[in-house]
C-alpha cells in the first residue's frame, strides 16, 4: 500500500454539521463547500511549494557538481596541452609500477534514517501520538541503557546486524591467525595456497548476491572439480583454507548439514560463531556427504580439493592427524594423541561431537594409549576436563555403568577442549601457544558444547576421582575464564563503539577479513580503523 506523502486537507467538502437556526440550508451547504474548497486550494499550494522545493534542492546540488566538473575539465585540458609537447619517452613500466588507481566508490548510506525523512512525512509523523516518556526513568537505571529502548527501539535490528558482523570479522580474523600458524607448520602445502583465494573471492561474491543463489553451488562444485584435479593430494592446508571458506563457500550445503549437526535450524549466521575454525566442520561434512562425493568423484576423475581428502579420510578410517572425520571419533583420538599435544591440536569438531557422542561412547581401549603421550600438556588440558566433568558425569551416570576400562589417569584429554581452556590456561601456564587466543567471546557460546564434548570423551574416568574436587577446580577455572572473557568483551565493546553506523565500512571490513591475505588485511583494516 503506497504511503501517502501529502494529502490535501479538507477531504470532504460538505460533511459538516449544519447549525440549526438556518432558513436556507442549501445556501449554507454551498457556502461551507466553497470555504472548504478554498482550504483545499491552500493545502494544494503548500503541497506544490514543498514539491518544487525538493526538486530545486536536488537540481541545486547538481549544479554545484556540474560546476566543479567543469572546472576540473578545464584544468585537465590545460594540463594536457602543457604536457603534450614536452613528453619524450614513457615506459609502461613506470605507469604500472605506480600505486594502482582506485576510484572513490562512495556508497549511499543511511538512506532511510529518521533524518532523511521528507518534510511532509515528518509532519505526518509528528501528528502521531508520542510514545510514553519512559526516558525520564533513564537516570535511575543501573545498566546505562535508555528507558525508551525497552519500549520501542528503531535501531534494534541495525544494532543486531552490526554486532553480528563485527563478531564475524573477529572470528574470521582469529581463524586466519590460527591458520597462519598452522600454515607455518606445514610448509609443504604452500604450493596449494594460491588456489584458495581465488575460490574464496568467487564464493564470497556468490554469497554476497544472496542466499538464493547459493543453491548454484553444487554446479560450481562440479565445475571446480576439474580445474582442481591436480590438487587431489593429501595436503591439509588447502583443505583448511577451503574449509575456512566452508561456511561461506558451499553456502547451502554446509549450513544445512552444519545445522543438522548442531541441531540449530535457522540462521546460518548464528551458526558461524559457533563453529570456531571451520576446517573441522568441513571434514565432517565431507564425511557426511561421502556418498554424493564418492559417486560424483567416480564420474569425475578430478575432484575438489576437499573431496579427495574426504574420500581419503573416508576410505581410511585412521586419518592422519588434523581433520578427524566425524563418524569415527575414537580413531582420531589415538591419532591426535599420537601426534602429541603441542599447541596446535586442530580445534577439531567441537560442536559436532556433541551429537555424535551420545550414540557412541568413545571406546576405552584407544584412550588407554593416551596417558603416556598426553602428559606433556597436562595442566592446560586438565581444566577443560574438569570443566566438562560435571556435565559429562551426569550423562555418564544417566547412561549407566561407564566403561570401567577407562584409565583414570587419563586426565589430559585429547585435543577437542584445548582451544577453549587456553584463555584460562594462560593464567596458569604458558603451555599451549599454538592457536592464538581463541575468541574468548566464543568461549561463552562454545563453552558448553566443548565442555560437553570433552566431558563425554573422558568423563568416564572422572567419577571415581572425586566430584567435589573437580567441581571446585571447575569453578575456579570458570572464574578465571570469566574474567578473561569480560576483559576481552570490554575490549571488543570499545572496538565496536568506534565503528559507528557505517554499513559500508562494516561490510568492507568483513569482506577484507574474509578474502584478503594477512598483509592486505592489515592494510585495509588499518585504513578502516582510521576512518
Amino acid at each position: 500500500m503506497p504511503l501517502v506523502k501529502r494529502s490535501i486537507e479538507p477531504r470532504h467538502l460538505c460533511h459538516t454539521v449544519l447549525p440549526r437556526a438556518i432558513k436556507n440550508e442549501l445556501e449554507c451547504v454551498t457556502n461551507v463547500s466553497l470555504a472548504n474548497v478554498i482550504r483545499q486550494l491552500s493545502s494544494l499550494s503548500k503541497y506544490a511549494e514543498d514539491l518544487f522545493g525538493e526538486l530545486f534542492n536536488e537540481a541545486h546540488s547538481f549544479s554545484f557538481r556540474v560546476n566543479s566538473l567543469q572546472e576540473r575539465v578545464d584544468r585537465l585540458s590545460i594540463s594536457v596541452t602543457q604536457l603534450d609537447p614536452k613528453e619524450e619517452e614513457l615506459s609502461l613500466q613506470d605507469i604500472t609500477m605506480r600505486k594502482a588507481f582506485r576510484s572513490s566508490t562512495i556508497q549511499d548510506q543511511q538512506l532511510f534514517a529518521r533524518q532523511s525523512l521528507p518534510i511532509p512525512l515528518q509532519e505526518t509523523f509528528d501528528l502521531c501520538e508520542q510514545p510514553p516518556p519512559l526516558n525520564i526513568l533513564t537516570p535511575y537505571r543501573d545498566d546505562g541503557k535508555e528507558g525508551l529502548k525497552f519500549y520501542t527501539n528503531p535501531s534494534y535490528f541495525f544494532d543486531l546486524w552490526r554486532e553480528k558482523m563485527l563478531q564475524d570479522t573477529e572470528d574470521k580474523r582469529k581463524e586466519k591467525r590460527k591458520q597462519k600458524v598452522r600454515g607455518n607448520d606445514r610448509t609443504l602445502e604452500a604450493e596449494k595456497v594460491p588456489r584458495a583465494p581465488h575460490d574464496r573471492k568467487k564464493e564470497w561474491q556468490k554469497l554476497a548476491l544472496g542466499a538464493e543463489l547459493a543453491e548454484e553451488d553444487p554446479e560450481e562444485a562440479l565445475k571446480h572439480r576439474e580445474p582442481n584435479g591436480s590438487a587431489a593430494y593429501h595436503d591439509r592446508a588447502p583443505l583448511y583454507l577451503d574449509g575456512m571458506d566452508g561456511p561461506f563457500s558451499l553456502a547451502a550445503l554446509p549450513y544445512s548439514q552444519m545445522n543438522e549437526l548442531l541441531n540449530r535450524p535457522g540462521d546460518r549466521m548464528y551458526t558461524r560463531p559457533h563453529d570456531p575454525p571451520p576446517p573441522p566442520p568441513m571434514h565432517p561434512l565431507g564425511d557426511i556427504k561421502p556418498p554424493s562425493m564418492i559417486s560424483s568423484s567416480s564420474g569425475f576423475s578430478d575432484s575438489r580439493p576437499q573431496s579427495p581428502a574426504q574420500t581419503h579420510g573416508f576410505s581410511s578410517n585412521t586419518p592422519p592427524p588434523p581433520p578427524p572425520p566425524l563418524p569415527p571419533p575414537p580413531p582420531p583420538l589415538p591419532s591426535m594423541s599420537g601426534s602429541g599435544q603441542r599447541g596446535t591440536p586442530p580445534p577439531p569438531i567441537p560442536p559436532l561431537p556433541i551429537q555424535q557422542q551420545p550414540p557412541a561412547i568413545p571406546p576405552p581401549p584407544t584412550l588407554q594409549i593416551a596417558p603416556g603421550v598426553l602428559h606433556p600438556a597436562p595442566p592446560p588440558v586438565a581444566p577443560p576436563l574438569h570443566l566438562s566433568s560435571p556435565a559429562r558425569l551426569q550423562q555418564v551416570l544417566d547412561k549407566g555403568p561407564p566403561p570401567g576400562q577407562l584409565d583414570c589417569t587419563l586426565l589430559p584429554p585429547p585435543p577437542p577442549p584445548p582451544p577453549l581452556p587456553l584463555p584460562g590456561a594462560r593464567s596458569s601456564s604458558p603451555c599451549p601457544p599454538g592457536p592464538p587466543p581463541p575468541p574468548s567471546f566464543l568461549s561463552g557460546a562454545v563453552a558448553s558444547p566443548l565442555s560437553h564434548s570433552s566431558g563425554k570423551k573422558h568423563a568416564a574416568c572422572l567419577p571415581p576421582i572425586s566430584d567435589a574436587r573437580s567441581v571446585l577446580l571447575e569453578a575456579i577455572r570458570k572464574g578465571i575464564q570469566l574474567r578473561k572473557v569480560e576483559e576481552q568483551r570490554e575490549q571488543e565493546a570499545a572496538k565496536h563503539e568506534r565503528v559507528g553506523n557505517d554499513v559500508a565500512t562494516i561490510l568492507s571490513r568483513r569482506i577484507a577479513v574474509e578474502y584478503s591475505d594477512s598483509e592486505d588485511e592489515s592494510e585495509f583494516d588499518e585504513g578502516d580503523w582510521i576512518e
Binding site: S33, L41, A48, F62, L69
Partner: protein, 79 residues
C-alpha cells in the same frame, strides 16, 4: 402551486448551479494535483538520469586526472 414551487424551484435551481460551480472547481483542483504529481515524477526521473551521468563523468575525470598525474610524474622523473 406554482407560487409555492417557484421559490422552492428557484432555490433548487440555484443550488444545482452552485453545486456545478463547486464541482468544476474541485475537478480542476484534482487536475492540478495530478499535474503536480506527474511533474514531480518526471522531474525526479530526469534528475536521476542527470545524477548518473554526472557520476559517470566524475569517475572518468578522476581516472583521467590520475593518469595525468602519473604521466607528469614520470615525465618529471625523466627530466
Amino acid at each position: 402551486m406554482s407560487g409555492q414551487d417557484d421559490p422552492v424551484q428557484r432555490e433548487i435551481h440555484q443550488d444545482w448551479a452552485n453545486r456545478e460551480y463547486i464541482e468544476v472547481i474541485t475537478s480542476s483542483i484534482k487536475k492540478i494535483a495530478d499535474f503536480l504529481n506527474s511533474f514531480d515524477m518526471s522531474c525526479r526521473s530526469r534528475l536521476a538520469t542527470l545524477n548518473e551521468k554526472l557520476t559517470a563523468l566524475e569517475r572518468r575525470i578522476e581516472y583521467i586526472e590520475a593518469r595525468l598525474v602519473i604521466l607528469s610524474e614520470t615525465f618529471t622523473r625523466q627530466l
